[in-house]
């Protein structure tokens, strides 16, 4: 039962890292505010189901749409700032969004929102094993979106944007349009993760979506191997399960976590399964 909970959370993290991979891995735009969009999705689901009596499935679609809409808006505004400026702007957005959740009574304030119903399928409540299957389906959907994107013309444009923005612009790639596209898709996937998260935990509060969590998601992505979908999923799995794997370390858990990030970046900056990592090359050679 406990294992199921961890596995479900790992699947939710994987949707988040896949979404961030669209923005940061594919399009090269560092975002330090991914948790904010996760929060928009979760709050949309919570408010629609609890307060307006919507069923889970339409609320899930609304969550994706709301997160993508906010993401498109932020993307459009953030186009004016570049690179490190963009990273810090997204961090600021995260703080402002969390404050809105925390201080506007509409979002439940400090008490958060509880009693969020689970999804129903064919007239039945979905139990825990079923929920895990649904979240895995969510991961596959996110993966499909990313694969489709990276194989389309837009994916090529995003890659060009990541490698050299000026050159892409010179080659008549509409840089602005594709940046907004990457933000919209990536934050939409975060909204999807948020919908699952809200109905899985049945209770959410603003603290779940803060800047530290954005950093955690980014660490998962880079740890696994930024720019690759397998890396996004591997990072979410390893670091998502890390609190359990490292349980025996007790008081030294966070210390080990920090040291692990440092050591991996120092010796394997491409991450665990990135294109240049030793592990991935060894796997490819066989």
């Amino acid at each position: 039962m406990y294992l199921l909970t961890v596995a479900t959370l790992v699947a939710i993290y994987a949707m988040l890292t896949l979404g961030l991979n669209t923005i940061t891995g594919l399009a090269g735009q560092i975002s330090l505010g991914h948790a904010a969009f996760f929060g928009v999705g979760a709050y949309t689901t919570a408010i629609l189901t609890v307060r307006y009596g919507w069923p889970f499935w339409p609320a899930l679609l609304a969550a994706v749409a709301a997160a993508a809409a906010v993401g498109a808006l932020i993307g459009a505004a953030a186009i004016r700032v570049r690179e490190d400026f963009l990273a810090i702007t997204t961090m600021g957005v995260n703080f402002v969004v969390v404050s809105v959740f925390l201080y506007f009574p509409f979002f439940g304030g400090a008490l958060g929102i509880g009693g969020i119903p689970g999804p129903r399928l064919l007239g039945h409540e979905v139990a825990r094993p079923g929920f895990l299957a649904l979240t895995v389906a969510g991961v596959l959907a996110a993966l499909a979106v990313n694969l489709w994107l990276s194989r389309s013309w837009a994916g090529l444009a995003l890659l060009a944007l990541r490698e050299d923005e000026e050159a892409a612009r010179a080659a008549a790639v509409d840089v602005r349009k594709f940046k907004i596209l990457a933000f919209t898709i990536g934050t939409g996937l975060a909204g999807l993760a948020g919908a699952f998260y809200a109905s899985f935990l049945t209770f959410i509060s603003a603290g779940d979506f803060g800047f530290p969590f954005s950093i955690t998601v980014l660490c998962m992505l880079v740890f696994g191997g930024i720019g690759t979908n397998r890396g996004a999923i591997a990072g979410a799995t390893v670091l998502g399960a890390a609190p359990e794997l490292f349980r025996f370390l007790a008081d030294y858990r966070m210390l080990t976590y920090g040291a692990l990030l440092l050591v991996l970046m120092r010796f394997q900056p491409a991450g665990l399964l990135g294109d240049d990592s030793a592990l991935w090359r060894a796997l490819r050679r066989r």
């Binding site: 570049r82 490190d84 920090g258």
Partner: protein
């Protein structure tokens, strides 16, 4: 009332400036966001606390805080930043976050999770000018900040080493081509920036009478907001950004009815500046 809030805001702002200057200087030479700088700041606070407990002298404690911070900064340059220089910036960013998390944990394990009080008997007195109260800790904070900033400014503009430092932060490769020892200048940057952060950590500890393992958290993200607000790599811009953030958040907390937290006001101010000036206040 308004002037009183301005004084409080200026004090907070000058503490931010001391801390953020190191971030700017490191960004200037290496183009990396030095998240672990906040851990150097916290170490300075503990260094000051321990030196004060051992010697009972404020000035020796300040020196101790700066010394231990410099040692930490140089160690990070040696084992984290320089080896990662050729790697993609995101790898450096994550490594830096890792160092920050690990160090905060070490402080917690060594010094305990609870805050230590840091009360120093001050020889300065409260100053009262036309109804505005400047408390003794505020006088001290502002005096030390101004002294350190003037010293930094004189160093950067009046010495040849300062000139070399500015040259390296403008164009590292060109400076190397002009036979400058770039590595030495980078180390100097880390040493100076860390010394200022150590002083800031100790002053924050004295000002709020509290030193705790997580005191660097707020510093870590607000410092980033300040240096980008100032225009990344611009030293005057950083000081300006720090004072602006300090004043804006104090004024809004004190005068606006809406109960938004400090940080939200600071970041709203930052985003507002970016919408008007995407390159920051004094950016190129």
């Amino acid at each position: 009332m308004l002037v009183q809030q301005l004084v409080n805001g200026l004090t907070v702002g000058s503490l931010y400036a001391l801390m953020a200057l190191g971030l700017t200087m490191v960004y200037g030479v290496l183009r990396v966001l030095h998240i672990a700088h906040a851990a150097v700041f916290t170490l300075g606070a503990y260094g000051g606390l321990w030196t004060f407990a051992a010697t009972g002298s404020f000035w020796l404690a300040l020196l101790g805080a700066m010394a231990i911070a410099v040692a930490a900064g140089l160690a990070m340059e040696r084992w984290v930043y320089w080896p990662l220089l050729a790697k993609p910036p995101i790898a450096t960013l994550i490594a830096s976050i890792g160092v920050f998390i690990a160090l905060e944990e070490i402080y917690r394990i060594v010094a305990g999770p609870e805050p230590h009080s840091f009360s120093v008997p001050l020889r300065v007195r409260d100053v009262r000018l036309a109804g505005v109260l400047v408390t003794a800790p505020q006088v001290l904070v502002m005096a030390v900040t101004v002294a350190l900033l003037v010293a930094l400014w004189l160093f950067l503009t009046r010495t040849s080493l300062g000139l070399a430092l500015r040259a390296v932060s403008q164009d590292r490769e060109m400076a190397a081509a002009c036979a400058m020892n770039v590595r030495r200048i980078v180390r100097l940057n880390f040493a100076l920036g860390s010394a200022l952060a150590g002083a800031a950590g100790m002053l924050v500890g004295v000002y709020y009478n509290s030193v705790s393992p997580t005191m660097g958290d707020v510093t870590a993200y607000k410092g980033l907001a300040i240096i980008v607000l100032g225009g990344l790599g611009s030293i005057p811009g950083t000081v300006l950004g720090a004072l602006l953030i300090g004043i804006v958040e104090t004024l809004f907390i004190g005068l606006v009815e809406f109960p938004f937290p400090r940080d939200a006001w600071a970041f709203l101010a930052m985003i507002a500046v970016f919408l008007l000036r995407p390159q920051g206040l004094l950016g190129r």
